[in-house]
């Protein structure tokens, strides 16, 4: 029984990271109707920035906040410079541009920081808490993610800027007529997504260690989580990410050798999608003929 609780709680902690990245994917999807395959590599790059800052002697939380800020600016720049020129191109063109971005970020990180695996410090105590039910790091990750989610919710729900961003994503034409600068709102959305990804990267790095390819698996799980919850619903994406995290952990512990862990977790998700094609909480898209 204790083992089960342990596994579920540590699944929730990894799930929180997937949920953050899934949320970042949903934010960009809602604004642009395409999935940013480079989201994971953007988070990886942010994590390297955090590592550099910590190495330079900054205290962890100062480095953390600075990284989030830099990632935000980086996200805005990426939207302005790389994504904007293909704004009206077909969806598959977007996919290829995102793959290009993924490859570039990965290669540049490997070039600057080399491909050797680096250790990343955890700001939380590593000793087990509550009679061994959860490690300090896992609890810290869950708390930080929760705080971030609440901040984001408050931002989108209660501030004028958040409202403007939602309007720009939902109905660009009307938003434009109401005087909202839709282009900048999209760029801000990218910035926020990059910042959220940065938090996910820094939170997962102490567990996965730091290397340019660390996020590929995480991104796939986040993608799965976003779709499982329904890509049109931010709350669903968060819940989907958590479910995927727990599922992955339980499958790996109880069902099958870890070499097929990824495949099995994905097979479960596919099964759910075949039964419920627009995800657990997504709206069913109704097409007008």
């Amino acid at each position: 029984m204790t083992q089960l609780t342990q596994q579920i709680l540590s699944g929730v902690a990894t799930g929180a990271v997937y949920a953050s990245l899934a949320l970042a994917l949903v934010m960009i999807y809602q604004a642009t109707e395409s999935v940013n395959f480079a989201q994971g590599e953007m988070a990886m790059f942010s994590t390297y920035i955090a590592w550099t800052l910590v190495q330079a002697g900054l205290p962890f939380w100062a480095a953390f906040l600075l990284t989030v800020l830099i990632s935000f600016i980086g996200g805005v720049l990426i939207e302005r410079v790389i994504v904007r020129p293909v704004h009206d191109a077909p969806v598959l063109t977007h996919v290829i541009v995102f793959i290009g971005l993924l490859v570039i970020l990965n290669a540049v990180a490997g070039w600057i920081y080399t491909y050797t695996v680096k250790e990343f410090p955890s700001p939380f105590p590593s000793k087990p808490l509550f009679g061994g039910a959860i490690t300090g790091h896992d609890l810290g990750v869950i708390c930080v993610t929760l705080a971030m989610l609440m901040l984001l919710f408050a931002f989108f729900r209660f501030t004028p800027l958040g409202l403007a961003m939602r309007a720009a994503a939902q109905n660009p034409e009307s938003a434009k007529l109401a005087g909202i600068r839709v282009g900048w709102m999209l760029a801000m959305g990218w910035g926020l997504a990059a910042a959220v990804g940065a938090v996910a990267g820094v939170m997962v790095a102490p567990v996965l260690f730091l290397d340019p390819n660390m996020m590929s698996g995480v991104l796939l799980y986040a993608f799965a989580g976003a779709l499982l919850g329904g890509i049109s619903s931010p709350g669903g994406a968060v819940l989907g990410g958590l479910i995927v995290g727990v599922l992955e952990n339980l499958v790996g512990t109880y069902l099958i050798a870890s070499e097929l862990k990824l495949s099995t977790a994905l097979a479960f998700i596919i099964l759910v999608l075949v039964i419920k094609p627009s995800g657990l909480f997504g709206r069913v898209a109704i097409k007008r003929v």
């Binding site: 191109a89 598959l92 063109t93 971005l101 570039i104 540049v108 490997g110 070499e259 495949s263």
Partner: protein, 343 residues
């Protein structure tokens, strides 16, 4: 290499220099085939091997193009069908001693069967959801190949003997393989473009553009969509079998996610929903990484990524789409000039 051919075909009943456009199309295809036949004698053995690979990728991309370009079902996991074709051929040769040239058709059929089976659940999924499912397929492929190691040889893979040219033929092994692949490529492109021009091809496009109207016109959606999956897998599986024969080696890690991503990249960069685009795409995914490597040793993939972005900015519809657009513009300019003269 038959590229410019299809462009002219987009301009029906057009007469150029007093001759039928269809005639010019055939001339261009013949020219392209002639270049392809003479090519091995102009370049080194190693380059011949690279062009063989590019031709194999072109066949695989044609398969992906049928599914994603013409039928609108996105697949980020065609590396899996490539792997099935490759392993089917390797197992037939290695375990059952079948001669290499007899493995291509069964390998294609094996991929076809898996493709149809996979197409059934895919019927319920669209767009991103299908993208996720096919991407998972790509991720799972190496794991599965390692898991069933009794047949697949585990992570070591299967080593095959590369077929040599018959003694009476005075050409080296690389050129011999190139010509055989070229023959398969010509058959595949002939069959593929005929299929797409036929009633079936028009049905596939109709399903992509407007599924509800297509159903209303009496097209059996589930049948056509699963068949599109199957046929697409057939082409890609045949390409996989040829790749196994030409490299003489199959191993799980050569069928990773990156291969599947390369396929979709090649397909879009070459020109999605065009037959000739598959050739440009094959050349792209074979040669651009090498060129990137020559430009920068330190970060070749960054250069590759920039090539991708550059191609997409300049030619959002791919190489074939770009040429097609240019040709149409040129024709319009000519027509308005002629009209001015007549006035």
């Amino acid at each position: 290499m038959s590229a410019p051919g299809t462009i002219v075909s987009a301009l029906p009943a057009q007469r150029i220099a007093g001759l039928d456009a269809d005639f010019w199309r055939r001339v261009l295809i013949a020219l392209a085939v002639m270049i392809a036949v003479l090519l091995p004698w102009a370049v080194s053995d190693y380059r011949v091997f690279q062009f063989t690979q590019a031709a194999i990728y072109a066949v695989a991309l044609l398969g992906l193009n049928i599914l994603t370009g013409y039928n609108g079902q996105i697949s980020l996991g065609h590396g899996a069908f490539f792997a099935i074709g490759g392993y089917a051929a390797a197992i037939l040769m290695h375990k059952l001693g079948v001669p290499y040239y007899l493995t291509i058709v069964p390998a294609g059929l094996a991929a076809f069967a898996v493709g149809v089976l996979f197409g059934l659940p895919a019927l319920r999924l669209e767009g991103l959801y299908l993208a996720l499912v096919t991407l998972s397929m790509a991720v799972a492929t190496p794991q599965f190949l390692k898991y069933f190691d009794h047949w697949t040889g585990g992570s070591q893979g299967i080593l095959l003997r590369k077929p040599a040219a018959p003694l009476w033929l005075p050409i080296g092994r690389d050129r011999w393989l190139y010509y055989q692949v070229l023959i398969v490529l010509l058959i595949a492109f002939w069959a593929g473009s005929n299929l797409l021009k036929s009633r079936t091809g028009r049905a596939l496009v109709a399903i992509r553009d407007h599924p509800i109207s297509a159903a209303a016109m009496g097209i059996n959606l589930p049948l056509y969509k699963t068949c599109a999956f199957g046929v697409s897998a057939l082409f890609t599986g045949i390409a996989g079998a040829m790749a196994a024969i030409v490299t003489g080696f199959v191993a799980p890690d050569s069928f990773n996610v990156f291969l599947s991503i390369s396929f979709i990249v090649g397909s879009v960069v070459g020109g999605i929903a065009t037959v000739s685009g598959a050739i440009f795409g094959g050349i792209f995914i074979q040669f651009i990484p090498n060129i990137a490597n020559q430009i920068s040793d330190a970060a070749p993939w960054a250069i590759y990524g920039m090539f991708l972005l550059g191609f997409m900015y300049v030619m959002p519809k791919g190489v074939a789409g770009f040429i097609k657009e240019r040709a149409i513009r040129y024709r319009q300019a000519r027509e308005s000039a002629d009209a001015d003269e007549a006035r």
